[in-house]
């Protein structure tokens, strides 16, 4: 038994001496748990300030209440205007709001038309334009919009019933009838008469308490009833022609994650060359450090381009992802993403002390960046701080660039910001890497 204990202790000693193993065992899972927890685990999990375009063309209090509700929801950032070519803020109309959603200005657009809820309406009408570039995001947005709409049902019923009673009994008798009904309800259900007679006040009061009951009732088979009361005309404005939306959306994220692993391993091979003495042999031939770095850089970049394109090609072969209709722009984004990824790999090699350190740190950063950058789940689900950090990662801009090209079929103008940012990030990271190489251990 003593020998077992000794060997057991030895195993722990070896384990704790291996920083990479410790990092992969404790730190990587901790970071990922935090991210997943922030996205799915907290009580108020779900989207946070997701941009949603809203146009209310109706004068109805119900429609106004819908907009007001959307305005106050943490999940959404309501946009009611857009910037025109002259840079002026202009209110949406029925055409521009649809185009706004099509061009990716918002995750979805809600239009409450002039007849959303008229004097003769029996239910609420609204239009919902959506861009399901991210399946999870789309499902949640759709659910929340429906929830907001269904929350208007008590007000709709109340107002409809008042109108019907006034129509069939006349204004005076109708109002007398309503008061009578209200006093009866008040008497037997202990509800304030003023709430029964004042629909908006009642609705506001009800909305604070009824969200879950609406959801529950819909689950119990009330869906048809609600759907008759709230008519949502949904229209997918982007990607409806795609053969395999799921693959089109996800191929970029997976390609980026695996590319980062490939590039990191390739960059860390500098340490293998150093350890084996090959680096020394190279440096005593007519080769300078700069030659070695550039050769590594170009190798990694070309490997990145080949791997990314290969993964999209596999997406085309296996899942019908339309790679070739916008292939030039796709190649541009692939090039920019490869430049950024290569710089990242070089940065790791420049600052790590050993191959193990480069790989361990690389794994931590790759998984974190992929998660934060939106390679696995929508960034809109993350806390606001992480959403801000997300935009600092090249995974985010690469992913968004791939979606622009493959999902939206965008041209060079639309992806120009992505290209600029990715090349810019690549340049900055490369400059830092060069600085790091001058002080790092690789050439020591």
């Amino acid at each position: 038994m003593k020998q077992v204990l000794r060997l057991f202790n030895n195993s722990y000693r070896i384990f704790f001496n291996d920083r990479v193993a410790v990092m992969l065992t404790f730190i990587v899972p901790m970071v990922l748990m935090y991210l997943f927890g922030a996205i799915f685990g907290s009580a108020d999990s779900g989207p946070d300030r997701m941009p949603i375009a809203v146009l209310n063309q109706s004068n109805s209090p119900v429609a106004q209440q819908v907009v007001a509700t959307l305005d106050t929801m943490k999940a959404f950032r309501v946009i009611k205007t857009y910037k025109d070519k002259q840079g002026r803020q202009v209110a949406f109309d029925s055409v521009t709001i649809k185009r706004f959603a099509q061009t990716g200005g918002a995750a979805a657009a809600v239009v409450l038309p002039p007849d959303a809820f008229t004097d003769t309406s029996l239910g609420l009408k609204m239009k919902f334009y959506y861009d399901p570039k991210n399946e999870i995001e789309f499902q949640v947005v759709q659910g929340l919009i429906k929830q907001v709409a269904y929350n208007q049902i008590p007000a709709i019923i109340n107002q409809s019933m008042q109108r019907q009673s006034e129509k069939y009994l006349g204004t005076k008798s109708g109002q007398a009838f309503n008061r009578g009904i209200a006093s009866l309800v008040s008497k037997y259900f202990h509800v304030d008469t003023s709430l029964i007679m004042n629909p908006s006040k009642a609705m506001a009061n009800w909305m604070n308490t009824s969200t879950s009951s609406v959801q529950d009732s819909s689950k119990k088979g009330g869906t048809n009833f609600f759907e008759n009361m709230v008519k949502i005309e949904s229209q997918q404005v982007v990607g409806e022609q795609l053969k395999n939306p799921w693959a089109t959306r996800s191929v970029g994220g997976w390609a980026m994650t695996f590319l980062l692993f490939t590039i990191t391993a390739s960059s860390a091979s500098l340490f293998d060359e150093k350890k084996s003495g090959v680096m020394l042999r190279l440096l005593v031939s007519p080769v300078s450090r700069v030659h070695i770095l550039w050769s590594k850089y170009f190798f990694n970049m070309s490997l990145g381009i080949i791997q990314l394109f290969f993964m999209f090609f596999v997406g085309w072969v296996m899942f019908d992802v339309d790679v070739f209709s916008n292939v030039v722009n796709l190649l541009l984004i692939i090039l920019a993403a490869s430049v950024a990824c290569t710089s990242f790999g070089m940065l790791l090699a420049a600052f790590a002390q050993t191959r193990q350190q480069a790989q361990g740190l690389g794994t931590l950063l790759i998984l974190s960046m992929s998660a934060v950058g939106g390679a696995w789940f929508p960034t809109s689900f993350m806390p606001p701080t992480i959403q801000s950090i997300s935009k600092l990662t090249f995974v985010y801009w690469s992913m968004d660039g791939f979606l622009e090209v493959l999902w939206r079929g965008s041209g060079i103008a639309a992806i120009a910001p992505h290209l600029l940012i990715l090349f810019g990030m690549g340049s900055v990271i490369s400059a830092v890497s060069v600085w790091g190489f001058k002080r790092g251990k690789v050439f020591e």
Partner: protein
């Protein structure tokens, strides 16, 4: 040919070289002998321009060795201590890769590769992956990978580490033939036998300083005695220890006595006396002093301590 002037190199925790100066002539086989950590590899790395010194300068021919001077590397071949080869590639692929860095025309490179592979007996294995080679074969390949551009100067940093005696002899023969062809060779080792066998001139280095240099004989002459006499340990020699002490210092070891001759020692007188005392000649063995003894004498430590 090679001039090392007042070189000093400092690492964060240690002074690797301290004011080292050496002159090495053309076609010389020069040895750098010293224990591990003495500064041999640092000096080699400075000679090839991989490291830069804090002080001093190195010139080969009329060119100064610097990290930026890539031209000079066409005149230097460097055999690193480690096996600087790509294990997953064949011997030929390795040589092609390293040879191309010297801008050799394809045909010439191909001829050189075949020639060098033949010279070290690896031609038949040229297409095999290096990972399938024995340690000795890898060492031989490691050497010829540094010779493809036909350099005038070959720097060998302990090129026989971990090699069996047979392969070691093959490497020695090859290096001697290169020297005979006119190449200047600088060879570092902590095996005094290697230095004695190969090198026409040797510098002994310790703690970053050159503590002695010269030919093997010149170095041995630095010892205060020329030869020692190993005396078999038996009843007769133990009885006659006092007689032996008349001729010098007697050191008693486990299996023998060591007589370090004193001043005015004469071999003829010694053996006459031995004969008179009834001791047999076969109990005595003349031992030429070694560089190991010189190192011990100069530093108080053994080369491999």
């Amino acid at each position: 040919m090679i001039s090392i002037r007042h070189i000093s190199k400092q690492f964060p925790s240690v002074t690797a070289l301290d004011d080292v100066s050496l002159e090495i002539g053309e076609k010389e086989f020069f040895g750098l002998l010293g224990p591990n950590g003495a500064g041999k590899t640092t000096l080699m790395n400075l000679l090839v321009g991989y490291l830069s010194p804090e002080k001093g300068s190195i010139t080969i021919g009329d060119q100064e060795v610097t990290r930026e001077n890539l031209d000079i590397r066409n005149t230097i071949g460097f055999v690193p201590q480690s096996l600087a080869l790509y294990d997953e590639l064949s011997a030929r692929a390795n040589l092609e890769m390293f040879g191309k860095l010297f801008n050799l025309p394809h045909k010439l490179l191909s001829e050189r590769i075949n020639e060098r592979l033949n010279a070290v007996g690896l031609y038949e294995r040229r297409n095999d992956n290096v990972k399938t080679f024995s340690g000795g074969m890898k060492r031989r390949l490691n050497i010829i990978a540094s010779l493809l551009h036909d350099p005038g100067v070959l720097l060998c940093d302990e090129p026989t580490v971990g090699v069996d005696p047979q392969s070691r002899n093959a490497i020695f023969d090859f290096l001697e033939s290169l020297n005979a062809q006119g190449k200047t060779i600088i060879y570092t080792t902590h095996y005094m036998e290697e230095a004695e066998r190969l090198c026409s001139r040797i510098a002994i280095i310790d703690h970053g300083k050159i503590i002695a240099s010269g030919t093997s004989d010149e170095l041995i002459d630095m010892l205060p005695y020329e030869e020692t006499i190993i005396v078999a340990k038996n009843d007769s020699t133990m009885e006659h220890k006092a007689v032996l002490r008349e001729f010098g210092t007697v050191i008693e070891n486990d299996d023998h006595l060591l007589l370090k001759p004193g001043t005015g020692f004469a071999l003829s007188k010694f053996f006459t006396r031995v004969e008179q005392e009834g001791m047999k000649y076969r109990w005595f063995e003349l031992h030429r002093p070694t560089l190991e003894e010189l190192f011990l004498h100069l530093t108080g430590r053994r080369l491999r301590d």
